[in-house]
Amino acid sequence: MRSIILAGLCSAVLLSGAAYAQSGAPIKIANVAELSGGGATVGTNWKNGIDLAVEEINAKGGILGRKIEVSHADSQSNPGVARAQVQKALDGEPYVLLGPGYSGSVKVTAPLAAEAGITQIMGGEAAELTQAGNKFLFRTSFGQQSSMPKVAKYINDELKAKSVAVVWVNNDFGRGGRDVITKEFNRLGIKVAADLSTEAGQADFAADVSKIKAAAPDAVFIYVNEEESARILKEIKRQGVTVPLIGETTLVGQKVIELAGDAANGARGHVGLTTDAPVEAVKAFRDRFVKKYNYVPDHNGLKGYLAIYMVKATTEKMGKVDPKAFADTLHGLTIKTSTEPNILMDVTFDQNGDIDRQGFLVEVVEGKQVVKQVLPKLN
């Protein structure tokens, strides 16, 4: 009789524990990002954005009454390390996987998350990432297939350039961007005066800029990562190249401006996200970020922040914490600022995990991004 009572008590304790795990235990989210190596700027901003959002949400009671618990792992900007870190993170059965930021790392880790049935919200921008039929992969910013046509159109319509030198980084991100923009240039009848492949982490751009000078293009399209963008901008200034410099977010981001100094002035680009956007919610985010970290974030800080609010909005839409149903709910979902103010701008996710949101054309003027044109959301 005593053993029956004891067994009953044990069962009651175990059941109450399980019930707690369901309702009150923290929601575990795993982040794998470029916290060191060539992509340290990307990963650090992304991580800080995540931490800020988590702090805000937890201070208000969490998601559906449950706090968020984020673990951060360093991919060292290396796809091989990223894959190992993602596998380790997935073994911990997270609710959602965040990162990585580099397209090459996303490419090798996405199949792992898809196999585990875990949604991956990442920062990669290579066009091919969301075109492989992966139903668990979501962007936080525009893919190259959305942004490059806008850049090419700007070079054609506004700059009236007839020949362009294309400088790109020899990785998945750079190759993807170069392929899409070259296709667009061909369509618009713009000649590629020089096609310059550079290496990730490259320190010396003297030879590349000499080649640009020799090609004498009407404009230069630069598509390399942030630190390399700063180095090539400095070298371009050093060698006195004066034609317009056009790029994407990685050419005109805050970190590039900080590193390149005066050399960044005049650089123009399309950015999906910028803390200089003429949007009150974005400005308020920027202030909160600067207050916490004492520096102005680049678009990766925004991406990380938005990733967490994507998780919050999707979970609240479902009304439950269900990792298996998460991706299905996010496909086709429109998150409006009227219901989730910290999503900052209305955003819609399509069936591939690509996003539709307003974008911006910016120019660096006296060390600051100045928005020249707002490109509205399509749908």
Partner: protein
């Protein structure tokens, strides 16, 4: 043709910085048989020391002064007393391995205490062009070249034209005889370590505005300077200078006319050719060693 001239000038500027670092390699080798595989990290660190001093509100010139002094203390004095002296008695190879470990230690410490991200660094040479024979030449390239050449000329004058320099050379060539004739060999060796520390601080000051201050930037520099020292002649200061300039120009020409992907391979090929056909280097002298 004008493109070639630009490439050569830019290559000479980078090469002059490699030369500064390579000279340090050869000095340490000649006086104490130290092969310092942390030499690249020795170039990276002074920039961060200067940034740290600027961070507490000091002006740039004061930061440079403190950077050079701290560099002399840490990379000269402390390096010799705490690592080279205890390790050298176990042979050249254990010391070389210890310097590899030191390189990793410096890199990780900078990453830990500063940041894994790159930081901007002010330039001592203003941005702009000067017209030479009708060609616009970058003022920064010329400035870097001029400062590096001045440093090397100064060092060569010290070694060849002063009593101190002659004592240093005597200590390097035959320490036993030097001791007999009254040269303070230990002090001379220490002096070469201090000179190396000042040279790497100067290289750091010149290269960091271009490469940015980053914990990993020493890898490229260390490798380039090591190759430069071997190609030029590991046992001759003038060889290291020639090697540095040659590697700078070859690297730039390879990037322009071969490909960016294979640029790093070209100096390596040069190194292999040199080891096969002229092991003493361009300006080095052949040495015989007994076993």
């Amino acid at each position: 043709m004008s493109n070639l001239l630009d490439l050569i000038v830019a290559g000479l500027a980078t090469g002059a910085i490699y030369a500064l670092v390579a000279v340090g390699f050869t000095l340490l080798w000649q006086t104490s048989q130290t092969i310092n595989f942390a030499q690249g990290e020795f170039v990276m660190l002074p920039a961060f020391l200067m940034l740290a001093v600027m961070h507490v509100g000091a002006p740039f010139w004061l930061a440079v002064l403190f950077g050079v002094l701290l560099s002399a203390l840490l990379l000269g004095l402390a390096f010799k007393m705490l690592l080279v002296d205890p390790m050298l008695r176990h042979g050249v190879l254990p010391l070389a391995i210890a310097t590899m470990a030191l390189a990793i230690g410096i890199k990780e410490a900078v990453k830990q205490f500063f940041s894994a991200e790159a930081s901007p660094f002010p330039s001592i040479v203003p941005v702009g062009d000067v017209s030479i024979l009708g060609r616009a030449i970058s003022l920064q390239s010329l400035g870097v070249l001029a400062v590096a050449i001045l440093a090397v000329v100064g060092l060569t004058a010290l070694l060849n034209r002063t009593s101190l320099g002659h004592q240093m050379q005597a200590a390097a060539q035959n320490p036993t005889v030097a001791r007999i004739i009254g040269v303070p060999v230990e002090r001379m060796i220490m002096l070469t370590f201090l000179i190396n520390a000042v040279l790497v601080a100067l290289a750091s000051l010149l290269i960091t505005p271009i490469y940015l201050a980053k914990f990993s930037s020493g890898e490229v520099l260390g490798q380039a300077a090591f190759i430069a020292a071997i190609v030029g002649g590991f046992n001759q200061v003038r060889g290291a200078i020639a090697g540095g300039l040659l590697i700078g120009v070859v690297d730039n020409l390879a990037a322009a006319y071969v490909s960016t992907q294979y640029r790093a391979a070209v100096p390596m090929l040069l190194l292999i050719m040199m080891i096969l056909f002229r092991p003493q280097g361009l300006l080095g002298r052949a040495e015989e060693r007994t076993v």
